[in-house]
Symmetry: C2
Subunit: 188 residues, 2 copies
């Protein structure tokens, strides 16, 4: 049985065995998340599926929450291309559209929900990359010398309704609806 | 060991033993949710803490998700009083303020996050009551013969940012900030 409190994590070594373990464990998590009405996602279950020792997983990730956060970091990095059309409105509409499309992917949704379920300190991973991308779009408009809403306001008006629908309702956000959110952020 | 697929649930009988079991199981869930870095919330763990047989829990609730939804339904019913000041703006400001206060309660937050983590089909419970309350506020203003935003728009502008902050960030929504959301929904 794995220890209740995991030993301190060691740094992962690049390539070789370490990389193979990481790939196998990530793959196991993704597969387990696709199982409907799955049992609780625990480290022993994940380790068994990945074909590695549970202690290896405990040592490397410490908890299911941190492991999910690691999977999410790979998943959400560089997956959505930040648009650069020269128009803030157009950029935001395209960005909201693409994000909604991503949140309609059952695998994305299962991962986001599972991370939230681990307690919250890891849930930021799901949206930090999104917030940075939104910030980049807004800063570019400011560089062009134009007024923009504050990033926080854009988060409330765009990211919040997208994630709220994805996580709390049975209807994932439609890409077409997502575009309309921009009109409330940038009226006129 | 409990069966993988639970038997069909029987109707719960009011009062007596049935009510005591429900109270004990609800209490066990609430206690387990307060444990930081808790192990996975599973029916055997919940049943052991409640002092009842796991099969009893499986038979009555079927899954952790449905059990959490039942706990949430009790928790979120009638807990926030819907304001009735005679002014839509004032009602919405008070309502957003009270909701933010509720979402700052670590027990509420832990319950909301845990339900989201069970996969989504149960997460609606967390917000259905809120959406109905928001609808009641808006309908009262319409009864007074005044124009109002659509309920869906109010959900996007008020509930979404509140839940997004609560679930995805480390800073739960402050009640003062929540009031300011109303200005974006009702400008001027």
């Amino acid at each position: 049985m794995p220890a209740q409190s995991p030993p301190p994590r060691t740094d992962s070594r690049p390539g070789g065995r370490s990389a193979r373990i990481r790939a196998a464990v990530h793959q196991a998590v993704k597969e387990l998340l696709t199982v409907e009405a799955r049992d609780a996602l625990t480290i022993p279950v994940i380790a068994a599926r990945a074909g590695v020792h549970a202690t290896t997983v405990y040592r490397r990730w410490g908890s299911v929450g941190e492991l999910l956060a690691d999977v999410a970091t790979s998943r959400f990095s560089g997956d959505v291309v930040v648009p650069d059309t020269g128009s803030l409105r157009e950029d935001l509409e395209r960005y909201a559209y693409d994000l909604a499309k991503d949140l309609n992917d059952p695998d994305t949704l299962a991962l986001v929900r599972a991370i939230v379920g681990t307690g919250g300190e890891n849930a930021g991973v799901c949206r930090m990359e999104r917030q940075r991308q939104l910030e980049a779009i807004i800063e570019r408009e400011q560089t062009r010398g134009n007024e923009t809403p504050a990033v926080e306001r854009a988060v409330d008006a765009l990211l919040a309704p997208l994630y709220y629908r994805a996580v709390f309702t049975e209807q994932p956000p439609s890409p077409e609806w997502a575009r309309t959110l921009v009109a409330h952020l940038l009226p006129g």
